[in-house]
Each structure stands twice: as C-alpha cells, then as structure tokens.
C-alpha cells in the first residue's frame, strides 16, 4: 500500500473521529452541564438510561443507522449511506452518551460551597453554568477524551455505515480488518501502529492540557 494512501486513510480517520467527537461535545457539554447543575424529578432514570447507552454495541448502532440511512429508511433522503457524513453521524451518536453522561457527573460533583459562592457573588443562568464547567473542566475534558477514544478505535459502526470503500470511506480500523482478511498482515500491523501513534499523540496532548489546567 502506497504511503500517500496510508496518509489519506489516517487523515480521514482523524477527521471523522474528530468531527464526530467535536459535534458530540458541542451538544453533550452544554446539555450535560445543564443537567449537572440541577436536581430534578426523574434524573436517576434519565441517568440510568444514559449509562445503559455506554454499553450500546457499535455494530448494533451501525445496523440501525444502516437501516435508517438506506433508501427506504426514514433518513434515506439524506443519501448519507456509504459517505463520510454517515460515518460522522455514527461517531456522533456513539460518543454522545459518554460525553453527555461524564460531563453531567463532572459538573454534578462540583461541591455545594462552590455553587453557593458562585450564586452569592451574583452568578446566574448561563454564567452560573459556565462557572461550574470551569470548575469541572478536568472532568469535562476527560469526558471529551473518552469520547474521542471510543470514536478513533471504533470499527463496527463505521464499516457498516461507511462500507469501507477504498479512497472514500476507508479508515484505519476498517483498513486493518480488510488487510487482515486478505492476509496482508504486514500492512495490517503497520496500520495498527499508525492508529496507536495517533491515539498516543492526541491523548498525550489532551493530558498535557489537563495537567496545565490543574496547576
């Protein structure tokens, strides 16, 4: 496999996982902190439902998305099956429960004296939420990291929704599956090493960011 193709695959992996995670963070962080800032009836049930989604098999999500996105499905008119858009949607749905749930927990764990102090000094509404997120930023960043970790290592959903089309929807994980099936273990291992390198790089930089926030 030529090097440029390898790079393309790696770049597409990063792009799809990054975009899916960022979109999930854009929804999950505000919503999760809103939930974490209050007590309300039914929050335990909602949390239990959300936590149960942590165990959602990606393959099952891929299948459901496949059915929804196929021509006769409810989202068929989008024509997103076997496209990067469809794969980003899959990554978004896979990572959202984690980012939402972990942000919720992180913000909910900000202690009452901090909350009271923010309130007594005049924080209200969006500014109050922003204060809580800032106090819980390590946990919130951790939530996004877990989301990205799930996205970049995921194979089941993206292979079904993306179709693993060479040069179009092939990403590192799905390429590893293909090369392994074709018996080209050297390439498969090489792809695996690239995947590992990306993970280490991204997580190391996010961890450094986290450490800086701690100081």
């Amino acid at each position: 496999m030529a090097e440029t193709i390898l790079l393309d695959i790696a770049a597409l992996s990063l792009f799809i996982s990054g975009a899916g995670t960022l979109l999930a963070a854009a929804v999950g962080v505000p919503l999760g902190s809103w939930l974490g800032a209050r007590d309300f009836r039914g929050q335990r049930i909602l949390k239990a439902l959300l936590y149960s989604l942590y165990g959602l098999p990606p393959v099952l999500l891929g299948l459901l998305l496949y059915l929804s996105l196929s021509r006769t499905g409810p989202l068929g008119s989008l024509r997103w099956l076997y496209t990067v858009h469809g794969m980003i949607l899959a990554q978004f749905l896979l990572t959202l429960p984690f980012i939402l749930g972990l942000t919720w927990s992180a913000v909910a764990s900000v202690e009452r004296p901090i909350r009271d102090t923010a309130k007594t000094l005049g924080a209200e509404g969006r500014r109050y939420l922003a204060t809580l997120v800032k106090e819980a930023k390590l946990g919130v960043l951790g939530a996004v990291m877990v989301g990205f970790g799930r996205a970049i290592s995921e194979v089941g959903a993206v292979i079904i929704v993306g179709g693993n089309i060479q040069g179009e929807t092939e990403v590192l994980t799905t390429a590893i599956v293909k090369e392994t099936q074709q018996g080209d273990f050297a390439t498969a291992v090489g792809l695996g090493l690239i995947l590992l390198a990306i993970s280490i790089l991204v997580f190391a930089s996010l961890t450094l960011l986290q450490e800086r926030g701690r100081k």
Partner: protein
C-alpha cells in the same frame, strides 16, 4: 433595632421558620441589618445560624415568615428556579462569606474579580477595585498565584476580598474566622470593621465566638435552638442581659 422596626432596613426578616423533617432549625426569627453597623448573631453550634444566613441570602427557602430587602419582599419561594427582579437586585447588593474558605480554580486576581464580572464592571474600574481590596487583605503579592496554592487563612482573606470589593448594602459572614490562626483573625476582623465603618453596608455576622461578638459587634442577638433569646446593643447585651439564658451564655455557661 429588631425585626419590629425593620421598615427600610437593607435586609430584614420576620418570623422566619425552617424545618428539616421533624426538626425545627429556625424558629420564628426576626432581625435586621443596618447600614454601617455590625450585627452579631451569636449562638452555640447547631442553633440554626447558618440556615438563617442561607435563607437571608436567598440560597434556601423558608417554611414561614418573610425576608425583605430595602422594603421589598424577596424570600425564595418553594421550587423557585429563577430569581425575580427584586430578588436579583437583592442578590447583587449582598454577599455571603462561608465558614470553610471557598476559592475558584483560577488565579487570586480572577477570584477577586468574580463578582465584579457578574456585574459587568468595566475592566479599568475592576482592576483598581481589585488591587485595593487585595491590598487591604494583604494579598497584593499573591495576585497571580493559583488560588488553591494559598494557605487556608489566605484563601479566607481572598474570599472576604472577593465579597467586599462589591458595591454591597449587606455583607453576610458565616463563622468566617473559625479554625483560623490569630494573625489571620486579626486581619479579617480589622477588614470587617473597616468595611462597616465606610457606612454603606450593614454586616450580619454569625458566630459562636463570644469574644468575637464582643470585639466586633454593635448589636448582638442570641439564638438558641433556632429561636431568638435576646437582641440588644452590645453593651446592654453583655453587661445587663435581660434573659437568664443570655446571662449564662455571656458568662461562659451553656445557655440552656
């Protein structure tokens, strides 16, 4: 100066009751804060002082009674999510300093700026106000430190600076020097006295420390089991208490 003549006091409450389950923690308390004076609410621990302050600062709902701020009714209603206009202006004109030092995970300066930012203070004004407040509490040299690196006493001084930098009419202090060493207590008590002496705001100081009340207060109220036993100007309270329980408390015996 009790709840009866509270009319236009910056902050007053009347007949406030709060129950947690079967236990009545605050039992019909009426009192008021007046501009330029320090009112000490004295009482043994577990006498409902903290809960009372939380109700006065609109952090807790009372089961009965009223809280008024400059004449407007502001008490928090059950299951209320957002503050109404009167409550919001009361909130912006008052601040509570908690017993345990609480600092945000930012720098000392950013901590001190917090309330001013919530009031959309212009940056230039904010910097000079914060500089002055930090200087008054002996924190100027620590402005760029992360607040959590400070000692407990420094953190509490920061918490006080963060509150008194605001344009307040009432400052609420909840056992604000408990567990601090003598040097920090001295600095903080002087800061409270200076703050009250400016004459703009009244201070409501909750404490179990008889001597602190004696050092700081203009007016003292004794709270036992959530109810007011006696409320009087300091000299009268300490020298010629009317209630026998006050006399016992002042002399160092248990009030009941």
């Amino acid at each position: 100066m009790t709840g009866e003549d509270a009319g236009l006091a910056p902050l007053a409450c009347k007949g406030v009751v709060k129950k947690f389950g079967e236990r009545t923690v605050v039992d019909g308390v009426s009192l008021a804060a007046h501009a330029g004076t320090i009112h000490a609410v004295l009482g043994p621990s577990g006498s409902g002082k903290t809960t009372l302050l939380r109700i006065l600062n609109l952090l807790e709902t009372a089961d009965a009674g009223s809280v008024s701020f400059a004449g407007a009714q502001v008490g928090l209603r059950p299951r209320q999510r957002r503050l109404d206009d009167a409550q919001r202006s009361a909130r912006l004109k008052s601040a509570l300093v908690l017993q345990k030092p609480v600092v945000f995970n930012t720098t000392v300066r950013e901590n001190a700026e917090f309330g001013l930012r919530m009031r959309d203070e212009v940056p230039g004004e904010m910097a000079s106000k914060v500089d002055a407040a930090l200087a008054r509490l002996g924190l100027s040299g620590l402005a760029d430190e992360r607040a959590w690196r400070l000692s407990g006493g420094e953190q509490q001084r920061l918490a006080f600076a963060r509150a008194c930098v605001l344009d307040l009419t009432v400052l609420l202090l909840d056992e604000f020097t408990a567990n601090l060493d003598h040097a920090n207590v001295t600095i903080l008590e002087k800061a409270v006295r200076d703050f009250a002496a400016e004459g703009k705001a009244g201070v409501l100081l909750v404490t179990h420390d008889l001597f602190q009340a004696r050092r700081l207060a203009d007016e003292v109220t004794l709270l036992v089991d959530g109810a007011v036993v006696e409320s009087a100007p300091k000299a009268e309270f300490f020298d010629s208490p009317k209630d026998e329980r006050t006399a016992r408390f002042v002399s160092g015996d248990a009030p009941m």
